[in-house]
Amino acid sequence: MTTERRQFTAFSRLLHWLMAPMVLSMLCIGVAMVVSVANYHRLVSMHRPLGIAILILVVIRYVNRKLHPPPPFPPTMSVQERRAATASEMMLYGLLFALPVVGWGMLSAAGYPIVLYSSLHLPSILPYNLMLYALLRKAHTFLAYLLFLMFIAHVGAILFHTLIVRDGILLRMAPRNIRAQEKDSPSGAGGKSGETSDETGG
């Protein structure tokens, strides 16, 4: 504990890379199912359990983040950038929590059984009310588009830092462990012409 931690904890990184494809799949399934006739049922049947899995994981992830705060941002980031980055991360957590809860609530208000798989289903969390359903249904779409924008902003910001600023920000979330001594490795070495490959510590 003497050296400053540069990476998220292994468990945090596992959760991140587990959820990233789930969230991307969820966005794709969601946007595809509402315009699909032939695959509507198949997609909806995946959408519900995947959403609930994301809900469970994001709660675990939030608790984990409170227990293990993130490593510091790279020094290339200004105070404003750090604030914006933290705020956008919190917004992502909020959306990943709100979307499944709104989805669950909206199905409850519509009187649908909330089937996860076969006879496994969740209880209703809201009264049977069609106006409430209509409202939550709209909110679900709005929040989903917002999540997509946040997702794009997140990917864009990471790519910008990785490829243009080249501050190794992705290392904080790299799947493999970065050994502590790397922190002390000489800086600027070998940086002659574009440093193509090693940004992620690969």
């Binding site: 595809a32 509402v34 315009v35 006739v37 069609l130 359903y133 790519l159 490829l163 190794g168 940086g191």
Partner: protein
């Protein structure tokens, strides 16, 4: 060893290098957004979507706020289903255990106009929601025809287009329906089968069919194709011929309400067991008459209410709300029905509804 942790600024990128990297970033973001847009149908606006189906229903029948886009005219009913246990051989669904489950339902007429006049040849619908133990549900939407009119969602859409009112006459152009049937021999054959089964005199003595097939699954995982029928205990009487509607535009609903005030109306729930080779993906083709028919129990409908007071108003009778033990077949109409019903449900849920055409005084008698 990498220098990725460098705390000092990196040497500046060349102009070309910066541009190339910006292009990579832009490319990645455009690729993600493009894929998203493609999946969301923005790049293929001509594809049929559930919204396009609902729009077409609205073009045919007009927009009637708060009402279903199809089967707009109806009344709510409730009662129960008594299972005799015979269905348990085919499906592990709890609805087929011996016992009683509550049922909420809705009788309706096909068509998007909630105030249209009852007519004997109009297809009658019966939507049912079986409330199973532990919050499980089974929903079905059955119709008073032996086979369905078309066997694909696209053909259903084409048929709807042929029913659009002609701006000049305000009525569908018969030539368009003729052209549709000429280009869809399966629809022509289905029409012939349907017209060889004349409609019953009322809702209460009509036979209702699931039209689409489902797979019934046992605890051992044995899967059997099944089509459902509700066969009335009230004796069949043909509708008056020639098919013409009496003066009272609600005469079918009034007769149903009158019948239900005399006493409960009963149906046998028949599971028609498919054999290998029986089409499960073509709702226009009947299965042979010789197929085994399992009587799974009796549906009793004892209470009738208008839509203003009935909880059935708030139910989307989506035929793919299924309990464990019943799964969809490969019939492409099933997913389409689920998708379009959901679209219709979402639209009407957000609208303020006008009173139903079937007056509450009639049902409240």
């Amino acid at each position: 060893m990498t220098n990725a942790h460098a705390e000092a600024p990196r040497p500046a990128l060349s102009k070309v290098g910066t541009l190339a990297r910006c292009a990579v970033i832009g490319g990645v973001l455009v690729a993600i957004t493009g894929s998203f847009a493609y999946l969301g149908g923005w790049l293929t606006p001509k594809d049929l979507t559930p919204a396009e189906f609902a729009d077409e229903f609205e073009r045919v029948a007009g927009v009637h706020a708060g009402f279903r886009r199809n089967h707009a005219k109806g009344v709510g009913v409730s009662g129960f289903f008594d299972s005799n246990g015979a269905g348990a051989r085919l499906s592990k669904a709890t609805v087929f255990h011996v016992g009683r489950v509550p049922v909420t339902g809705r009788f309706s007429l096909a068509g998007g106009q909630p105030s249209m006049a009852d007519a004997p040849e109009t297809i009658r619908g019966l939507g049912l929601k079986f409330s199973l133990p532990d919050g499980e549900q089974w929903r079905t939407a059955m119709n008073s025809i032996p086979v369905f009119l078309v066997n694909t969602p696209a053909a259903f859409y084409e048929r709807l287009v042929a029913l659009e009112p002609d701006p000049a006459t305000g009525k569908p152009d018969p030539a368009k329906m003729k052209a549709f049937l000429a280009s869809h021999p399966e629809a022509m054959r289905a029409m012939q089968i349907i017209s060889s089964h004349p409609p019953a005199s009322g809702f209460a003595n009509s036979t209702y069919s699931s039209l689409n097939a489902f797979f019934f699954v046992t605890t051992d995982g044995v899967s059997t194709p099944v089509r459902l029928q509700l066969v009335p205990l009230d004796a069949f009487e043909p509708a008056a011929t020639p098919l013409s509607a009496p003066e009272n535009k609600n005469y079918l609903f009034d007769a149903l309400i009158g019948r239900m005030h005399q006493g409960p109306v009963l149906w046998h729930l028949i599971l028609v067991v498919g054999q290998p080779g029986d089409p499960t993906n073509d709702a226009t083709v009947p299965w042979p008459e010789s197929r085994e028919r399992v009587d799974a129990g009796t549906l009793t409908l004892s209470v009738v209410e208008t839509e203003e007071t009935s909880v059935a108003q708030d139910i989307n009778f989506d035929p793919l709300v299924l309990p464990a033990g019943i799964v969809p077949s490969d019939d492409p109409l099933l997913s389409a029905r689920s998708a379009v019903y959901s679209q219709s449900f979402t639209r009407r849920a957000g609208e303020t509804k006008k009173p139903s055409a079937v007056p509450s005084a009639e049902a409240g008698k």
